[in-house]
Amino acid sequence: MTSPRDERPVLDGAEKEFVDRLAREYAPPPMTAAERAAFDEAVRARLERPERRPLLVPAIGAVAAAAVLCFVLFDPTGPIRLPGEEGGGAVVASSWEDEVFLSSDLSASEDRDESETLPQDYLAIAGVFLGG
């Protein structure tokens, strides 16, 4: 790779000495014959493994994200319930949004833990991803 015409940075005596010392001190121990053999064996073992497909990981991620999105947007279990509502009395999402965003009594809930107001579906998803 090196040709005589290649340029090299010009270092003065002190700089050269400094660089040489770093090169000397900051180096791994030379490989032994056994380490070389083990290294070659490890390379061979890697070659025998099936080639990793770089598109597979993003594809799986995209499918997982799409699945979560579908679950959130098109909840198969039924309409979204009001926060804290345990069953029956289900209301459609627009009513819940109205309740949250248009309520004049929001200040009354300021001290509450917000996690308590999350819908059950969101809590379930959070549980899956955050392990909580």
Binding site: E7, R8, F18, L22, P28, M31
Partner: protein, 186 residues
């Protein structure tokens, strides 16, 4: 007969590829591992991993390169990128696990020399920008020319020279005491 001949040619080509690869690994193994070790901050296991992965990639692209010199440039470029990627992931992992700075690996205890000094050098190199560190290691520690390093880093030679100048200035300031003792030898 033609099919048989093609099969023989194919197996000869495969054998040729194997021999070429074996020779390539034998020629570059030690230097590649040492370069990776320096680039990843003295982490023995990471250096092995990075080097082996670069060789695997080289093998899979061997057919594309008729000249070993081009394969060599390509291989070292892959190696530098693998090492850089390793450092980034390590930094991310440490940030997520609560670390506030990149923890520099303690070089293997059996390495002869001064482990404290090695840690200091690794830390000083770690404080350079990625490109400064790579340029410094390639040119000053590994003996690549500026032009070769520019090719490996995908940067103009002027940029590499600028990185080298800044890296050397910073390192000399950070490790000033290394120059104060008997020509650098303690």
């Amino acid at each position: 007969m033609v099919a048989g001949s093609a099969a023989v040619e194919s197996s000869v080509a495969a054998l040729d590829l194997e021999e070429r690869f074996t020779a390539f690994v034998t020629t570059h193994r030690d230097r590649a591992r040492r370069l990776a070790w320096r680039l990843v901050g003295g982490d023995e296991a990471a250096a092995e991993d990075v080097t082996q992965e670069a060789f695997v990639k080289a093998y899979r692209s061997l057919g594309r390169f008729r000249e070993d010199s081009k394969l060599e440039t390509w291989f070292y470029r892959i190696l530098v990128r693998q090492a850089s990627s390793h450092r980034r992931w390590r930094a991310v992992r440490q940030r997520w696990s609560g670390g506030w700075r990149e923890d520099l690996a303690d070089p293997a205890p059996q390495v002869p020399g001064d482990p404290g000094l090695r840690r200091r050098i690794a830390a000083a190199l770690g404080r350079l920008t990625g490109r400064q560190r790579e340029a410094f290691i390639l040119v000053h520690l590994e003996g690549f020319t500026v032009r070769e390093s520019a090719k490996l880093l995908g940067k103009p030679t002027g940029t590499v020279k600028s990185h080298l100048h800044r890296a050397l200035r910073t390192l000399r300031a950070e490790l000033a005491d290394l120059q104060d003792f008997d020509g650098g030898r303690r």
